[in-house]
Amino acid sequence: MSSARVRLEAIAIDLGGHTVLTDLSLDIPAGSFVALVGPSGVGKTTLLRVLAGTVPAQAGQIRLERPDDGSTPQIAFVFQEPRLLPWLRTWENVALVAPGRSSAERRQRAEAALAAVHLPERAFTAWPRQLSGGMAQRVALARALVTEPDLLLLDEPFSAVDALTRLRLQDYLLELWERFGFTAILVTHDVDEAAYLADRVILLGGKPARVQNQFLVDIPRPRDRGDARLAALRARILAALDEQAIDEPVRASRP
């Protein structure tokens, strides 16, 4: 699997007649892990949709390419909810989007992807409604993975599971990213999650929104969740977020 470089140059996005994002420029190196944070409704999800190609940008340039040959990268998306098709069994949900000539090959790839997210084998043939929230989200992760993405877009993927499951899913995601080397762009409300996972945390804010601040997370992996440097960074991000959120102030100690 390869990765994708993402370059946005002065893009603007209109939704429902008004400008949501403006003059937004980003350069995300291939293989990096970027987290997007910002107040609710700032347009983080919209930006992901633009990158996925389901929402058009009104101005500016979007360049997505594989650095090795300049070709169009494969993009996969993990939504906030698992969005599994309830009428397909677990493995069928993954095989549906798996590449491969024969159905046997697609099934094999699907099962490999499910194994990569540590799903117990007896859940492979279960119906989605039989899975717990965390398991279903792992299936969604496997479904993204099986497409062999160069760019993985994640829209608050762990916000609906319990705290302990969330930590575990974060580690699974990190493991997959290290193993397969795709570029990851994660939208999250959880500043801990952003700082723990990403190389760089990008703060969007303002109306219309633009990049307000970027935080480099210069801490080698594997990171310790209790690391003092992580805590300091978290405080800085929260303080910056607090300045953005005029309507709903975030309670954080200002430096």
């Binding site: 389901t54 939504f79 397909l88 549906l96 989007v97 965390g134 499951t165």
Partner: protein, 286 residues
């Protein structure tokens, strides 16, 4: 990661206090209890006729109806009428459901078509379907064509509305998934739209079937020389309530059988909705 093997039933018996089993929970009791009321009705029926409260030319006793039933089967009379009714129903049902499904799907998927067509079909619904009878007779004559078209019309409307509603109620988030993962039109239709609409389509098919039975009777009451509906009219005009009752019973049995068949089909096709037992994982325990 620690995996716990938990079968749903084992867990349930541990935590949920078992409801005490009542005498009428057994398999045998479940089968026999529904027959109590019909048996009582038959007994009361027999009693009233026997006591002379109702003249037997108006209401023949149960054994007389059974006797007539046996006679009609033996003479091949009942099978002929049954076959005639079933044939009409099948053709009318096909002619109603196939356009109903096709048009409902199209209007459900294409907003322009919905805007153009749906108000007209909604308007048609306001006319009770039986009100079309005179016009159908004028147009198509008193013959098989009118009858089958009338049944088809009765079946079409509920199928169309249920399919339209079913296609419209498909989770928009699953459609977005299909777009993001570039499933393409055909695979989106086959893997997302069809299975997503299926529960509503099956509801429509069952509603259509019950209306089909209603309209087959209507069509045969008006103009027919065969069929169970004809038996009703003929029994009335020849003062044979036993034959009328045989026809009524046949309708009851056939209607119930055909609905059971569709219910079976529904359960087989919608297995993904039926499952209750969950797959457990050691999430959060390690």
């Amino acid at each position: 990661m620690a995996l716990r093997e938990l079968s749903a039933s084992a867990e349930r018996s541990e935590h949920v206090p078992q409801a005490s089993r009542r005498w009428h929970d057994g398999t045998f009791a479940r089968w026999i209890i529904p027959w109590f009321v019909p048996a009582l009705v038959a007994l009361a029926w027999w009693g009233t006729v026997r006591a002379g409260w109702i003249a037997s030319y108006q209401l023949p006793p149960p054994q007389r109806v059974l006797e007539t039933f046996r006679e009609m089967v033996e003479r091949g009379e009942l099978p002929i009428h049954l076959a005639a009714t079933l044939e009409r129903l099948v053709w009318g049902y096909l002619l109603g459901t196939l356009p109903g499904i096709a048009l409902g799907t199209l209007t459900g998927l294409v907003p322009l078509l919905r805007r153009a067509l749906d108000p007209t079909v909604q308007g048609l619904r306001a006319i009770p379907s039986l009100a079309w009878v005179p016009l159908f007779l004028l147009w198509f004559g008193i013959g098989e064509t009118s009858r089958i078209l009338l049944i088809a019309l009765g079946v079409f409307l509920p199928v169309y509305f249920n399919v339209l509603a079913a296609v419209g109620s498909i989770d928009i988030r699953l459609i977005e998934f299909a777009r993001v993962y570039r499933l393409g039109r055909w695979r989106t239709f086959r893997s997302v739209i069809i299975p997503g609409a299926l529960p509503g389509v099956l509801t429509g098919l069952r509603a259509g079937l019950s209306l089909g039975w209603m309209f087959v009777v209507a069509a045969e009451l008006i103009a027919a020389s065969s069929g169970l509906g004809f038996l009703l009219v003929e029994g009335q005009s020849t003062m044979r309530p036993d034959r009328v009752l045989v026809a009524l019973l046949s309708f009851g049995i056939l209607g119930k059988l055909s609905d059971t068949l569709l219910a079976r089909l529904e359960r087989a096709l919608l297995a993904w909705r039926e499952t209750i037992a969950s797959v457990q994982d050691g999430e959060g325990t390690a």
